[in-house]
Amino acid sequence: MEHTSTLERVLRAIAITLVILFFIFPIFWIVLMSFQTNETILRVPPSIVFEPTLQNYQALITGELDTAAGKLEFDFMSNLFNSFYLSTASVALGLILGIPAAYAFGRLKFRGSEDIAFTLLSFRFAPPLLVLLPLTIYFQKLGLADTYFGLIWVYQLIVLPLILWIVRGYFEDIPADIEYAYRIAGHGFWATFFKIALPLAMPGIAAAGLLAFIFAWNNFIFALVLASADKQPVTVGALAFVTASGIQYGQIAAGIVLSILPTLGLALYAQRYLVEGLSLGAVKG
């Protein structure tokens, strides 16, 4: 902008630097820790100089770590796989269920639409603990305990409200005329939905999907309570490094790095959509 003064530019640069420092420094530090042994991490005072080691990553990938207190075995890679599987499947199901509903609420105003929309959102209000406890009992009876299917269903509580709310706003903002014109040309409702509405709403869908993916990925309590050890996500799996014989900070750090990478990759890949896609509620000029 032409009327930005030098002072303002300097202030902006300082502000953005501070922001990056605050938000990125801890991540940077975690990355550093992931290349250190526990002994160098636990130094007083902490230091940035150390001899890097790949031992933490190696341990995570092979599933074995030799500590002085004995061999530590774990299955982090299958935790990572579970996280990936649970989050992806949940978001996929959430999109399949959520997009048509979002379209209905956003585009086809109908009797009770706001009430149903609010009801769906309100599933997010229930504190997870509240429903989780009785749920364990019902899952037991229904045979859903310790199944991926059961978990994916429960994960809908996290992903569905988010998807609905964001995608709905997006549908509302697509000018109705385009769809109308297409239908006048003799196309049916479904054709219009798939050929016109869906592609136009793609950025919103991508952004909602990504956010939902992140929230599903970070969940911790559902799988812990409802499934056995072989279905646990990274959030539970990484706690295995908090052992009776000490906390293995190096592996936890490496675990965090490995668990951020897929999501970060996804976000970078979808970055064009991400910001544009969240512009729900905007009335396009």
């Binding site: 530090w29 959520g98 379209y103 009785p134 509302e172 006048i184 000029g285």
Partner: protein, 307 residues
């Protein structure tokens, strides 16, 4: 439009009458979620019982007694106060910072886009694990942040372990994790605003602060409301960060609803009290969200009218 659309000839595919279409579209989502009502009502029933797993012989209906007892229970009022304070502080500060950062990154440049994605990394770190790392970073001996604090003169800063700074510390972690969520929503909002009002204001030489208060903020309100809505729901139900950092201590400084309910269930196995606490939490969330959503709908109606 709807009448015209309805009267269009349908060529092929299965037909659903125009009247039922919206219900058919929204029903699967509703059905998928409706199952949750069963455990929900079971939990309501638990909250009306004297129910401690370790004393099965004393299990009976006591109707509102669990709730009634809260009135004279100082730890309950403490929980309420701490939870509301936490939610107010975190959401308030995150909105401020989130908006500030979004304004800084508003211009579409490669650098800004890249930074905005990188800033999402804290959000991608599961709070349960992030807290472990923060706990290490604020450790008085090994912690890098404690080291920094000592460099700038806070020799003995005790972070989460001191009653006077515990709230500050967990709020800081919450800000670190969740500000990016608000930032990205608001950034999307800012970039989607129509340009004409701003161009007009610039031509007229309207002061930028005035533009911000009278044009930017009002137009951004729906985004602010959405961001606030999701953050309030989550913040008042915060568990991971607080439990991992202090387990609700020191003393009773941070015994928010979910921490208290969690301890009541998993340690004391006092199912009745735990469920009653969570029901109150649910009621608070419900009321707050209704207010937000009502305003959100009103605003959108208004904006559509103007557009």
């Amino acid at each position: 439009m709807s009448d015209a659309a309805a009267s269009l000839p349908k060529r092929r595919g299965f037909r659903i009458s125009r009247r039922w279409l919206p219900y058919v579209l929204s029903l699967p989502a509703l059905l998928a979620c409706i199952g949750i009502l069963i455990p929900f009502f079971t939990a309501v029933a638990y909250s009306l019982q004297r129910y401690r797993l370790s004393q099965p012989w004393a299990h009976k209906w006591n109707w509102g007694e669990n709730y009634w007892n809260f009135l004279s229970d100082s730890s309950f009022w403490n929980t309420l106060q701490v939870s509301l304070t936490y939610a107010f502080l975190t959401v308030g500060l995150e909105l401020m910072f989130g908006l500030g950062i979004a304004l800084l990154l508003q211009k579409r440049t490669r650098f800004n886009n890249f930074v905005s994605i990188m800033l999402l990394m804290p959000l991608m770190t599961a709070p349960a694990l992030a807290s472990l790392m923060w706990k290490l970073m604020t450790n008085p001996g090994f912690g890098i942040l404690s080291y920094f604090a000592s460099l700038i003169g806070f020799e003995d800063f005790r972070w989460a372990s001191d009653p006077s700074t515990a709230m500050l510390t967990v709020v800081l972690v919450d800000i670190w994790v969740y500000t990016p969520f608000i930032m990205i929503l608001l950034l999307a909002g800012l970039r989607s605003l129509p340009q004409q009002p701003f161009e007009a204001a610039a031509l007229d030489g309207v002061p930028r602060l005035f533009v911000f208060w009278r044009i930017t903020l009002p137009m951004l309100t729906p985004f602010l409301l959405t961001a606030t809505l999701f953050r309030v729901i989550e913040s008042i139900q915060q568990f991971d960060i607080i439990y991992a950092m202090t387990q609700g201590g020191p003393g009773d400084r941070l015994t928010v609803f979910q921490v208290e309910a969690y301890l009541n269930f998993f340690q004391s196995t006092n199912v009745g009290r735990s469920a009653a606490l969570l029901m109150i939490l649910w009621a608070i969330t419900y009321v707050l969200s209704s207010i937000f959503i009502k305003n959100w709908l009103k605003l959108r109606e208004k904006q559509r009218g103007e557009a």
